[in-house]
């Protein structure tokens, strides 16, 4: 079984049905509750969280740990109970990417990571103090290389 998305960005994409991730409460401020992860290049650090229901809706996301090895997701008890994930290590973690003209100005939202586990996705509020809404990606990457 597969589904087809006529993406405004990427053209027609065929996705196996089991790859669809259900977001019971959607993503904050955006419509749609079914998304798929799309990698245009398997070597790229960036992937797209593409809506199944809206062909023009896709969020650029990345795995935060490759840029911020010390990154931690801390959930409040109520948030953990809501999403049914007590340990973020059990989930795949993505953060949204704010693109800019130059890579130096790219930022990611460490405050509201997206956790995906067993076909379900939730955007959560990270209670960790070291989790800004706009964390520069490139500074992190260069600091890491220099270390």
């Amino acid at each position: 079984m597969s589904i087809t998305i006529d993406s405004t960005r990427f053209g027609t994409i065929e996705i196996p049905s089991h790859a669809v991730v259900e977001f019971p409460t959607g993503l904050i401020g955006l419509g749609g509750s079914r998304y798929v992860l799309i990698a245009r290049d398997e070597n790229s650090p960036f992937v797209w969280l593409h809506s199944v229901d809206d062909a023009s809706l896709a969020l650029a996301v990345t795995n935060p740990f490759q840029f911020f090895p010390e990154y931690e997701v801390e959930l409040s008890d109520s948030e953990a109970e809501r999403i049914g994930i007590t340990d973020p290590a059990d989930a795949d973690v993505y953060v949204t990417v704010r693109a800019a003209e130059t890579l130096e100005d790219f930022t990611v939202n460490l405050r509201a990571p997206i956790l995906i586990s067993r076909g379900r996705g939730h955007q959560v509020i990270n209670e960790s103090e070291a989790a800004p809404v706009r964390a520069p990606l490139f500074v992190a990457a260069t600091a890491e290389q220099a270390a």
Binding site: P24, F46, T96, V97, N109, R111, R134, A141
Partner: protein, 75 residues
């Protein structure tokens, strides 16, 4: 907008399932307790607005705005 006057210790019901308690009022601060079904996320508005803005920003990027290879990262 509906505007209600409440004292500390009083509550507001949103439908049958959501209760907002006015716990304490100290100076300019009001402490609220929210009881809602657990599937319903509850956010401080300024955090909700900031996250919504970042979500929308990440959804406005063109395909070409996002580098595709690790090599491009260092460009």
């Amino acid at each position: 907008m509906l505007i209600l006057t409440r004292h500390a210790g009083q509550k507001i019901m949103l439908g049958d399932d959501i209760t907002v308690h006015v716990m304490e009022i100290v100076g300019n601060n009001v402490r609220l307790g929210v009881e809602a079904p657990k599937r319903l996320p509850v956010y401080r508005e300024e955090i909700w607005a900031a996250v919504k803005e970042e979500n929308q920003a990440s959804a406005t990027a063109d395909a070409d705005a996002i580098p595709q290879t690790p090599a491009a990262k260092a460009a």
